[in-house]
């Protein structure tokens, strides 16, 4: 689902990225994935989490404690202080419980 038109702070946007959500992050946000154009003010993973959190109730609920959210840039784990760089797909999810 493309929601370019809903994104706040889009005065100066970067290229769109694909956000993918899993487990309770997905359930709370309410969609499994979306294309979004990030404002240029969003540089790091942490910036993204805080920016997303303001997008509505579901986001607020999912990202209430942003520090617990795990993030993958193009399928690679990323720390919260890492820049998003030119990642095309960004995954957001709770701590993993495989095995």
């Amino acid at each position: 689902m493309t929601i370019f038109e809903q994104a706040p702070n889009t005065s100066s946007t970067n290229r769109p990225v694909k956000l993918v959500y899993f487990a309770w992050v997905r359930e709370r946000i309410g969609v499994p994935q979306e294309e979004i154009a990030l404002p240029s003010s969003v540089v790091t993973v942490r910036d993204l989490l805080h920016w997303l959190k303001e997008r509505g109730e579901g986001y607020e609920h999912a990202l209430q404690f942003p520090e617990v959210i795990r993030v993958a840039l193009d399928h690679e784990h990323a720390e919260h202080d890492e820049p998003l760089g030119d990642a095309r797909e960004i995954g957001l999810f709770p701590p993993m419980t495989g095995g």
Binding site: V20, F22, A23, W24, A72, H75, H77, G91, F93, P94, P95, M96, T97, G98, G99
Partner: protein, 161 residues
């Protein structure tokens, strides 16, 4: 040594005997095979099923990276890791990890390392489905699983042949 780990993320069950056969075929230098199978527990009868979610694409890639790290660390001739997704009922297999080596300690350590990393570094999540059909919520990550990883960065422990 270059080994090619066998990594699969699949809905279906696996056959451990067959995986051992595949992993050891053509490797007459293998003397030790360790397998770990993770099985769905019934939580004292309260659990009807687990719903396993994963991040397609990333899951395979993350497990493959862990397997290659294991292969760098121990002299392993074969590594297999299979993780299921979807609905799994008590008694059913969830995950298989296999490590094969000339010697037993490398096989044991390789398999334990793979499992520890798979538990908290591979993108899988478990939801509980209760006996009455209700959503029992997502399984919380255990701190002990993160702690389990730390021993692999500490002093090596038992490096014997």
């Amino acid at each position: 040594m270059t080994i090619k780990p066998v990594i699969r993320v699949q809905a279906n069950d696996f056959d451990i005997a067959r995986e051992i056969e595949l992993a050891t075929a053509g490797h007459p230098e293998i003397g030790a095979v360790v397998t770990f199978s993770g099985i769905c527990r019934d939580d004292g009868g309260s659990l009807a099923a687990l719903e396993l979610e994963h991040y397609p694409g990333m899951a395979e890639r993350a497990i493959n990276e862990i397997a290659l790290q294991a292969a760098e660390r121990w002299p392993l001739q074969a590594i297999t890791a299979i993780h299921r997704y979807g609905r799994v009922t008590p008694g059913e297999n969830i995950v298989l990890v296999l490590a094969a080596s000339a010697h037993r300690q490398a096989a044991f350590d390789g398999a334990a390392f793979l499992m520890d990393f798979l538990k908290s570094k591979a993108p899988f999540w478990k939801k509980l489905i209760a006996r009455d059909g209700s959503d029992g919520g997502w399984v919380d990550a255990k701190e002990s699983d993160d702690e389990a990883l730390q021993r692999w960065s500490a002093a090596e422990g038992f490096e014997r042949s």
